[in-house]
Subunit: 209 residues, 2 copies
């Protein structure tokens, strides 16, 4: 085991299994061949018990030797520093990758997550629907023009955009063949499948504990 | 003039003036003493006319020689590469700064912007209010414990978090003295004031054109 540790919850209900964001970090480590271990904080006290590590009470956070980082997007950029497979070293390709990582976080997920939240909390009318539809259509156009978001190969940009867009309700909203193709390609990668199975097993084993 | 160009709209209505996100980039350049020029794309055709430069039809985007970058957060990280004043070079401080930049984009703004959007579009009941209140309270606790988000000095982390939290409706929601103090300190910085005045003058001059 290396010093790289991904911190997640010890248990979550069925709904979020397969979508807890430690998956992004597992996936990146698997793609890059980085050794890591997974440790947990209690689900029951999550609102208050790890605020010193994650000031919003969320997971994941990550430790790498003495360094501790929260925010899955920031953890991914840190992993990118450790592996050119994730984050190209050529300056313009690196900048493009960071640009699409931020786009996933702040142009796409900024609408899809609140939209999803309003859907599951049962708002009569979801006021974010037209805005989300616009963003998803923009991404459909982009993904219809290229196989990879940056250059001619997999980067963190593809990883994060895929993880943002694969959320079930978002994926089921409308028909976007290029996006669907992109998601099928990304989620069939062995590194994604390994990360997914490991997360599912992690939470399943806590049911039996 | 250097090669650094910030692209924004040629005109916007009164409401967003002082809050268009080119301000983040102007502010960062002013803090770092980086020379830059401002160029524009037409407000009227913004949905379609610059999709080759910004795939969601937004501003700002930035060019630096041959490199072109969209997403204000990614542009800020690029400016951070050009100036240690914005992004510390010591690895743990750099990682902390990136972490708070992502927190501003993906934990705070991911709730405040959709909340604000629902408020201005007149949703009867804003389903994002409890979630936003929680995030703002977490930030109030953090800002009550420290003067700067990273180390003992100004970084991109403070710049972006302040720009996210200073949005009028968000700032007026509830009472959070540490946050208010932080915003007063940040927005009284000469570099912020210069950036703000320049943006206001930019849009005012287009009224007369």
């Amino acid at each position: 085991m290396g010093d790289l540790t991904i911190w997640t919850l010890d248990w979550v209900p069925q709904g979020p299994r397969g979508f807890v964001r430690d998956l992004r970090l597992r996936w990146a480590c698997e793609e890059a061949g980085l050794a890591y271990q997974v440790k947990t904080v209690p689900f029951g006290d999550r609102e208050t018990n790890h605020l010193d590590h994650q000031p919003f009470g969320q997971v994941p956070y990550m430790s790498d030797g003495d360094l501790e980082i929260f925010e899955s997007g920031a953890c991914l950029l840190h992993l990118g520093r450790k592996s050119a497979h994730l984050l190209p070293r050529e300056p313009s390709r690196e900048a493009e990758t960071i640009q699409w990582v931020v786009a996933a976080l702040n142009s796409v997920e900024m609408v899809t997550v609140p939209w999803w939240f309003l859907e599951i909390t049962g708002a009569a009318e979801n006021g974010l629907t037209p805005w989300m539809e616009g963003r998803l259509n923009h991404m459909e156009r982009v993904l219809g023009e290229r196989e990879w978001l940056v250059g001619n190969r997999f980067t963190l940009a593809d990883l994060l955009m895929a993880d943002v867009l694969r959320v079930e309700k978002v994926r089921a909203f409308g028909t976007r063949p290029a996006t669907e193709n992109f998601l099928n390609r990304m989620t069939s990668r062995p590194a994604f499948q390994k990360a997914l199975q490991d997360q599912l097993m992690h939470f399943a084993s806590s049911d039996q504990a």
